[in-house]
Symmetry: D2
């Protein structure tokens, strides 16, 4: 079975990566690319890596006949775009933030824009594939998780679900490659401003991925969980490493942590639990849909330190979106995304 | 049809990339990895990106039942390894230098080691796929070209074949990412010694790829051609960019150059000729088997400046080796290597 | 007044940086370089940036007539080198770990080697210049702090001294450039293994800088303090950024934190407290002896997040060693190290 | 003697580097910073590395009482700014292109703007310090050379002056760090567009430094010299490496080349001629005012390959500007710029 996919916002990095992945997906028959700024252009003029293809960008005024539509739009735009009529005709996977938070009040507070699809929001399914597979299967609208959030949630979810850690002690220190900032032109992402530098930003719990992480972890724990989350920009193109810290509950040890991870993720192909002396590093997942997770217990301070690593444009964006599509359409879940990480790359 | 492939020297970067490619190749049924230093180890311990696989490394004392054998060995070792008996049973693709130079005297002079397979050397076919496809098809032993050489030869071959440039005026200035130096431990390739630095080496025409380039270009021209070739290390993991300079023959202009490239490569999938304002950059071919070629004519000095870019581990090593295997076995030439370049990666 | 300085272990990165700094120091009359591996060589052959100088490396069998001796040696060697006779003749600043921990039992436990100068250890002064200036002034032997430790201690010391944070809640997540690993040849620091990658190591509280941080913070607080400390390698040559997390004590707010920093560091030239929207980044201190410190309070979780940044080879090694020398000899404390950070570099 | 310096255009990278250098220059009493876009701001808000200083930016409507004025302006602006009245009161060093080409027709052709100071142009002295020291001494207006041009000219000047190379055979392949492109915001210099990439630009002899190189080399040779010059962007912050190629004149050998360099530069402090096996690399000059020059002869093709390396923001901009100021005011030529290159940085 082959379907027709549309990508709205195909000129950003996530859209480009999605185009690359879907172009080789065995169940995709045709791809339509939409993007206002590059409308009418050959896609090879927008991304020269596509120069050998015949892909072109359409303006997106009319989007028709897509079996699935991927939205790679700035927040605030997707909630204006998705309608019930659209969902009646096509499945939608939104790679942005508009449908991730189930409470529109929380969304409006953190994103400082109005939510224009409050009526549709309740049916959106949070698309962390390994955690919500069942609901994703039947969803018309999937909210694809953020890159930082996928790293943080996959590392902490099993520990909270099994109540192994103190829910008030969680600190998440995350490090991202620069592609997470997108292709927008700004003085902040000039080469010389980021190269040979490590830069924290949004410190003090201001980053918008915070409520998304907390929503998932609270669901896992069954009570309200808050976290201190600090993102950093690292001088590399791709990859996210999240270092998560939490106090262990009384009597909990390394064996319990290990067991929790294995029981939760033992069957998951795209989650790789590392061995003791092989901590995750971003290079080992680059170019793939894997999340690598490892941990150690600091016995002197009774804390667990969990490390998770992923490729922010694949498992953190286009890869997981494809995984969700696979689930929604009943394709092989690995179809089109079973990449072995490339190294050194 | 599925075949069984063996990789001898699977622990280097080229061997690892080949393992990655062949693991997803539709015509490969099984892969055997050989490497003395890591014999008995799980391949995921050598390259953690393979941690989800069940690949293991064998010592290679006995190599049997491979339909094709890839040799990723230091020069001087392959010529000891390949025998007529081996070639009777299996096709061999050597990624090293031992069978690239048709004259063993030239080999011994440049590589300063004895050639141990002088009797076999005459039947080795130089595996620049686009140029030698016919001979590769019937070869038992293919000498896979070097990374720098593939970049330089693809850019200059059509110009010499059409006698558009002065054969005594050729300068090739090449820039490579660091993976070309391999995974061997040496003070020269420490992070801090190469990062934030550009380093020329083997200047004055001392690099061993020089005679390989000259052999191919002389064949194209029909007379002896010499070149000045200077390699540089650039602080990046992958990619080669070759900037080639030559004086135009009398009366030759940009249109002739363009025409020569198009007539020579017009049908070639893996050679992409760039448009005038889209010069090749290594980022546009990274992760792919493409060579991008562009040029400009400096009318003030009557020179052509040709730019060629490729991924040194793919078209410059494992990708072209796979392409040659495809040709040798009658597979679809693009099978397993039709990657769209990834960006930004 | 001009003195004669000796550097033992001049062939490492710290020794080289010290040589560079002392070569332009107004109070240094002569420099002697010692290093067994490069004995007899021109220093420009070891570090080509010194090719214009006439510095040479001596074997160090005999070290005489130095007013100050800097030791840049692997741990375990300095404690064998320093003697009371040496200290009678020359002041010693040890850039290694041997004299940093006041309790040799703790040293032997963490470093797994015997301490050979237990009798001398009690007089060693921990050389965090801003904190121990008074004692450094009169010391014969100064233990120069580690790079990570200087970043962590400067950020947390005032907060613990003023008892503003919960001493059991401290998490330090530190990120370092690769030069911190030294010039030793190892597969772990090859260019392609670290470039485009972020790598945690010694997770679970195993890094040897942990007890050094705890010793200083315990002193500040007046009780035993433990911390969870996790180092990471970032793909850049220089710089350390430490992100430190702690729960605020009841009733403590951002104003208290700010006030504590300002009262503690208000007069300190080499500590720069950043403004609210100008968080420290390593690029703003690169090439200088400054530590930049900033913070934010995460009110939702009642945590302070403190950011400190420094150049690991300057304030984290050779610069602070020079600062300590300036204090010990009564020179202007800024002499020779009043560098404005270079950017972009 | 202390003088007052003004920097017009202090908000670019060259202006910032000049501010850093002049802030520690023994003969500079005061510095005034001018820059329209940042007028009224503390300089530490423009460049946080200056946060500890009290430097502020003025709008530059009125510039008075400067003994020397450095212009760091886009081309086309300086020629509108410099007047005879200005030169009567203050010495001017222009770091831009407006006064480098002695023929305004050539300037207008290459820069596609009108030259507004044709009357003043004849008295401008080309400020390649080592070559024009005598004229610089008495100049009121010095045109500071470009970064690429300084690298290319220093390597080739002695060879042409001694007529050792064929003037029609010169190819200059140059590689630059990204800071050469300045701090202007553009999609071309985003981190992800340049990192892990090497990019040629202005190929075919279109770069504006071409006529500047030719002007100097023609002067050296005594006849019109043309060159093919190709610049490339390398993923690093700083540094230029120029690889220059030329055919040797009949009978010329390596000894002649060496002798020409030594006779021309033997006394020059800021030109370091490297030994045979120590080719220049940008890391060995980073942070300094040195140009390192090395060469090899390719005897098979009868070419010399000359390598020159410099720090584009120091010897290629602010450092040479300071050197020229030192010459113009009779200061010690090394004053304020006698930096030992920093490594690894």
């Amino acid at each position: 079975m082959k379907i027709r996919a549309g990508i709205v916002g195909a000129t950003g990095y996530a859209g480009s990566e999605l185009t690359r992945i879907l172009s080789r997906h065995p169940n995709i028959g045709e791809i339509a690319l939409y993007g206002r700024s590059a409308a009418g252009k050959h896609y090879g003029c927008v991304y020269q890596n596509f120069s050998h293809t015949n892909l072109c960008v359409e303006d997106g005024e009319e989007i028709h006949d897509c079996d699935v539509l991927f939205l790679c739009l700035p927040h605030g735009i997707a909630s204006k775009t998705v309608t019930n009529e659209m969902l009646d005709k096509t499945k939608v996977i939104d790679l942005g933030a508009d449908f991730r938070l189930s409470d529109w009040r929380v969304y409006e507070q953190w994103y400082a824009v109005e939510h224009y699809a409050k009526d549709i929001l309740p049916e959106a399914v949070y698309g962390l594939s390994e955690i919500n597979r069942g609901k994703i299967k039947d969803a018309r609208l999937v909210a694809n998780p953020g890159c930082y959030t996928t790293a943080a949630i996959t590392a902490l979810y099993p520990l909270l679900k099994h109540k192994l850690i103190d829910k008030d002690s969680i600190v998440i220190d995350a490090k991202s490659g620069v592609s997470g900032a997108g292709r927008g032109v700004s003085g902040d992402v000039l080469y010389c401003e980021l190269n040979e530098n490590i830069k924290p930003y949004k410190i003090g719990g201001e980053h918008r991925h915070t409520p998304e992480i907390e929503q998932a972890l609270s669901f896992a724990y069954g009570e309200n969980v808050t976290v201190t989350f600090t993102p950093h920009l690292v001088p590399m193109n791709r990859g996210i490493l999240a270092t998560s810290y939490a106090k262990l509950e009384h009597g909990v040890g390394a064996a319990d942590i290990k067991s929790a991870y294995h029981s939760f993720y033992g069957e998951e192909y795209f989650i790789r639990l590392t061995h003791d002396n092989c901590m995750p590093q971003t290079k080992w997942v680059k170019g793939s849909n894997f999340v690598d997770i490892g941990f150690a217990v600091d016995e002197r301070t009774n804390r667990v330190v969990a490390i998770s690593a992923l490729d922010n444009l694949i498992k953190g964006a286009a890869g997981q979106a494809t995984q969700n599509m696979n689930i929604m359409f009943g394709f092989n879940e690995k179809a089109g995304i079973d990449f072995i990480p490339a190294f050194p790359v």
